[in-house]
């Protein structure tokens, strides 16, 4: 349980600190000729998908202990 929660938090932190800002920087820089109109709902969905997704993926190794 500790490893699952720890890995999930590590994945979320990795997404929040490294992956997500880098992705946003790239995506917004890519569309520099347009004016962004980012809605809070769309942004929240993207944020949750990336952060929870990365957390879930990084906690995959501990899931394997269920099925060993």
């Amino acid at each position: 349980m500790i490893s699952t929660v720890g890995l999930f938090i590590a994945g979320g932190l990795f997404g929040f600190k490294i992956a997500f800002p880098a992705a946003l920087d790239f995506l917004i820089g890519y569309s520099a000729q347009f004016k962004p109109m980012i809605t809070i709902g769309e942004y929240t969905d993207l944020f949750l998908t990336i952060i929870i997704g990365l957390g879930a993926i990084l906690s995959c190794p501990s899931w394997s202990f269920f099925w060993r």
């Binding site: 349980m1 809605t39 944020f47």
Partner: protein, 128 residues
Amino acid sequence: MPDTDSGTTTDTQSREDLLRQMSFLEHLEELRKRLIYSVLSVVVGFFACYAFAEKIYGLMQAPILTALRNHHMSDSLVYLSPTEPFNLYIKISFLAGVFLPARSSSIKFGCSFRPAFTAMRSATSFPS
């Protein structure tokens, strides 16, 4: 999972033995009890997090505000329907309420399946 909410290994063993001896209906009753506790912990977490929803969202939108500022764009997000900010805060509070007591709720819920996992593990593992 190697860790449980019951403390020592002997406690875990006796608890597993007790769970194995229970009948099907007793297992269902145990599952119902644990489901109710899980839902209650999420509800308590939701109300606790609703008070901090604005702070949580401030933390969440920090990456995009930084990215927008770096590219010299307007650093404010928009909403298209009047209910969107309210729904957003509800959604954030609910999700934070799910993840805040995640340890207690998932253990409470997961422990009711422990005998099944243990049985499956011993049935599928190779003989040593």
